[in-house]
């Protein structure tokens, strides 16, 4: 098929330069949150929609600083007007990367074949929390603290009762 892809390329190199119609892009959700343990990974889905009025090619990428953390599939695709694509964003946190990290997943459509191509893009904030403190660990610590406090109060009452005798 200009099969699956050759035609898409042809669109990019031949057809798009001829059009000056509107280009558009939409993305959802508006933010991506990843909670990961060091060395672990998590995947979220980003929906990209062509809100323009002609077929367009889209690229999805992440800010350079965190490029090595992300895998995006697919990271390039063409969409007919109003068509949308599910993109899977996988973040793999390196070891010893504890803490909160913020970057952007960028979705853009543009055409550099034109004298000055006018493109549209969306910056989707991505928040990455790398922590060993899983929710159940936190809950366990909270329960342990509560038990310790309860035992302390019981013992104190007993001691107070003993002193009173």
């Amino acid at each position: 098929m200009r099969g699956f892809f050759v035609l898409a390329f042809a669109f990019l190199s031949v057809l798009l330069p001829c059009q000056a119609s509107a280009v558009g892009v939409g993305a959802a959700p508006s933010e991506l949150d990843f909670n990961i343990r060091p060395g672990g990974s998590a995947t979220e889905t980003l929906h990209v929609i062509n809100t323009g009025d002609s077929e367009a090619h889209y690229r999805v990428y992440v800010d350079e600083e965190y490029e090595g953390w992300f895998d995006i599939a697919p990271d390039e695709f063409s969409l007919a007007p109003q068509a949308n694509e599910e993109t899977h964003i996988t973040v793999s946190a390196p070891l010893f990367s504890f803490g909160d990290h913020s970057t952007h997943v960028n979705v853009v459509t543009a055409n550099s074949q034109l004298e000055l191509g006018v493109g549209a893009g969306i910056k989707v904030p991505a928040h990455i929390r790398v922590s060993n403190l899983l929710p159940w660990v936190g809950l366990g610590i909270a329960v342990a603290l509560l038990l310790t406090l309860t035992l302390f109060l019981i013992r104190r009452r007993r001691m107070a009762a003993g002193e009173a005798k």
């Binding site: 099969g3 390329f9 280009v23 939409g26 697919p74 390039e76 550099s112 004298e115 006018v118 910056k123």
Partner: protein
């Protein structure tokens, strides 16, 4: 005794002959290519495989979701196991495809996945939690696969189904092949990407591969004419013209088609100006093994282009592997109940074991029968129940889907619309006559003996909103076996329409919808359904007991920018300022957005330094735009006084949106 001069003469002649032979051999050895087809160990292929191996990421992916499927096929074509292609102990490329199975969403996606899955010796009916064969078949409209305005989804769909073991005689393959043939461009023998479009080499090559995979003889006119079209585009460098020049992708698929047709792409027939398509394809290979799309252009999908080239060099066209078709006869089964269709679809029938429910006796039918077809359609009663009795001698179907006989009404069957003279357990598909084999359809229906079949056809399967299309309903005579227009039939579409004296009803629909149109009439058997997509389609018509809920959800952040390009066609020089060009940014999402701009780094320095928005450098632009609101800015180009470039320049101005 010979004189010295005689001896020199003989020696001289010998040297002359040697010199002539050398003169013939040496230039050939200098330009010699490896014999075609190449082996996986040949440098060109080995280097290309190494390039792909080096492009693999930790999750197994090579070049992205789509490219990974093509690469998987190339790996298998090279005789390697794609399961072994992994970085260290990380997931293999096959694992990656399985994990990404959910990314496939179109007929061509499903087809590509099937081809890769089968090439990797995996099961296309159960891969990554999906049955890709079923998903692809769900895109079959009754006459073709996928979008009725496109052909490429039929080419790849046919190849994928054949690869998955579908019989070439199955309805979905046979009808799609007919659709492909019907949409060949008669003027040049080629095919295009879309119906009614001009021929091109890529699609003609894929069509040829699809037809040959489906059993078309390479000597048939469809194939020879297609090859003649491809040959007509051959350029002096040996490659095939696509958009004015040759490229690796087009060369690869054309070579594949030539090989699939049993020809040698390096033979004299495919040599132009002493160059073959293989010479041209190899000219795109780089030092690192990668194939560029064109000489100076890597192309958008380098791994994919390299994968295509590997298969072409190895002489391994698509499909790379083909599963053995299941033994048996492939037929379309339709089960029409009293008020609705119980089931319809393709089945493969071989031998069957049918239990008579009244006696508990199991009968083994060693041939593919019409009753066996019903058993397959019911998936051995897991899909819907049916009741068979042997109390009248042969096996008689008394109820299907718990619809019991009543009065003169009961369950009957027809093969290719004819009512056979033997019981369903006696009708051997592909053998019994009448009707003459091959048998295409077994119709089980609830009705009377006198009921006649209806057929329905449409003049368009894809129409715009408010565009008219015609439906023709015909009835079949059991006396003449001919079809004639049926007056007064009720056509069920978005609403009910009665056919006129010519059997025709005209329909137009004022909203996007996918219609499954069928016809009914008292005393007749309900027609099969035909799918018509109106506009964007997708919204299914509700049945009487369903309430459909629909909503159109806007993405949270979404913008539209118009126009999509600015042409400062002012013959500007250093120090000049262009006219202003209006650019409108519209917020078409649900949330308020903050919009900033960027001239991409790759743009010419002219734009990085010279683009002004509302008179200020582009980097100063910032706007907050509310929902359904727009912002206008005026772009101009200030050519820097020290700018030294000349000629056309390109760049990109991006309007970036994020939540305000």
């Amino acid at each position: 005794m010979r004189s010295v001069s005689e001896g020199f003469g003989v020696l001289g002649n010998l040297l002359l002959v040697l010199a002539l032979i050398s003169a013939m051999i040496l230039p050939m050895s200098v330009v010699a290519q490896p014999d075609y087809p190449l082996n996986p160990t040949d440098t060109e292929v080995a280097n290309a495989l190494d390039y792909l191996r080096g492009a693999q990421t930790a999750d197994g992916d090579i070049g992205g979701f789509s490219a990974s499927a093509w690469v998987t096929m190339a790996i298998a074509a090279a005789g390697e196991d794609p399961h072994d292609w992994r970085v260290g102990s990380n997931p293999s490329i096959v694992d990656y495809l399985a994990a990404s199975a959910g990314s496939a969403s179109s007929a061509t996606d499903y087809a590509r996945m099937i081809l890769a899955i089968v090439a990797a010796d995996e099961d296309p009916t159960s891969f990554g939690g999906k049955d890709f064969v079923e998903l692809l078949k769900a895109n079959y409209s009754g006459t073709q696969i996928g979008d009725a305005s496109l052909l490429n989804d039929d080419f790849w769909g046919v190849m994928a189904l054949i690869s998955a073991g579908e019989s070439p005689s199955s309805r979905v393959v046979a009808n799609s092949v007919a659709f492909i043939k019907d949409n060949r461009n008669d003027d040049d023998g080629g095919w295009s990407w879309g119906v009614g479009q001009d021929s091109d080499v890529d699609d003609t090559a894929v069509a040829i591969m699809a037809l040959i995979a489906a059993g078309e003889s390479p000597s048939s006119s469809a194939i020879t004419d297609g090859l003649a079209y491809i040959e007509s585009t051959q350029m002096d460098n040996g490659g095939f013209e696509s958009w004015g020049a040759t490229n690796a992708d087009t060369d690869s698929w054309a070579i594949d088609a030539i090989v699939a047709a049993g020809e040698d792409p390096t033979s004299g027939d495919w040599t132009e100006n002493a160059n073959t398509p293989v010479d041209d394809l190899l000219s795109f290979q780089q030092g690192n093994g990668q194939f560029y799309w064109q000489s100076s252009m890597p192309g958008a999908w380098p791994c994919q282009t390299t994968a295509y080239a590997i298969q072409a060099l190895l002489g391994e066209p698509y499909p790379v592997k083909v599963l053995e078709p299941r033994e048996g006869i492939s037929v379309y089964v339709r089960v029409e109940g009293q008020d609705s269709t119980v089931w319809r679809g393709d089945v493969i029938v071989s031998e069957s074991d049918i239990m008579a429910d009244n006696s508990g006796t199991t009968y083994h039918l060693s041939d593919p029968t019409a009753l066996g077809a019903l058993d397959e359609a019911s998936n051995h009663e897991e899909r819907f129940p049916y009741y068979v009795t042997d109390q009248y001698g042969g096996l008689y179907v008394s109820s299907v889907n718990e619809e019991e006989p009543s009065g003169l009404n009961g369950w009957m069957y027809r093969v290719d619309y004819r009512s056979p003279g033997v019981g369903a357990d006696q009708f051997i598909l592909g053998e019994t006559t009448p009707p003459n084999p091959p048998h295409q359809e077994v119709l089980w229906y609830y009705g009377e003996w006198t009921d006649l079949p209806l057929s329905l056809s449409v003049d368009k399967t894809q129409v715009d909103v408010d565009e008219e299309f015609s439906v023709v309903v015909r009835e079949r005579s059991d006396d003449t076996h001919n079809w004639s227009p049926c007056e007064g039939a009720m056509v069920h579409g978005d609403q009910d329409y009665a056919t006129g004296v010519d059997g025709t009803a005209t329909i137009s629909v004022d909203h996007d919808v996918t219609l499954h149109i069928f016809a009914e009439k008292d005393g007749y058997i309900r027609s099969d359904k035909v799918t018509v997509t109106v506009g964007e389609g997708t919204i299914q018509p509700p049945s009487s007991d369903e309430v459909y809920l629909t909503a159109h959800i806007l993405p949270a952040i979404s913008i539209e920018v118009s126009p999509g390009s600015v042409d400062f066609n002012d013959k500007l020089g250093p120090g000049d300022i262009s006219d202003e060009h209006r650019i409108t940014i519209s917020n078409v999402g649900a949330w308020e957005v903050k919009v900033t701009t960027e001239v991409e780094e790759e743009s010419d320095d002219l734009f990085l330094r010279g683009v002004r928005l509302d008179g200020k450098l582009w980097s100063s632009f910032q706007a907050i735009i509310g929902r359904e609101e727009s912002e206008t800015t005026y772009a101009s180009l200030h050519v820097p006084e020290d700018y030294s470039g000349v000629g056309p320049k390109t760049g990109n101005l991006i309007f970036w949106a994020e939540g305000a």
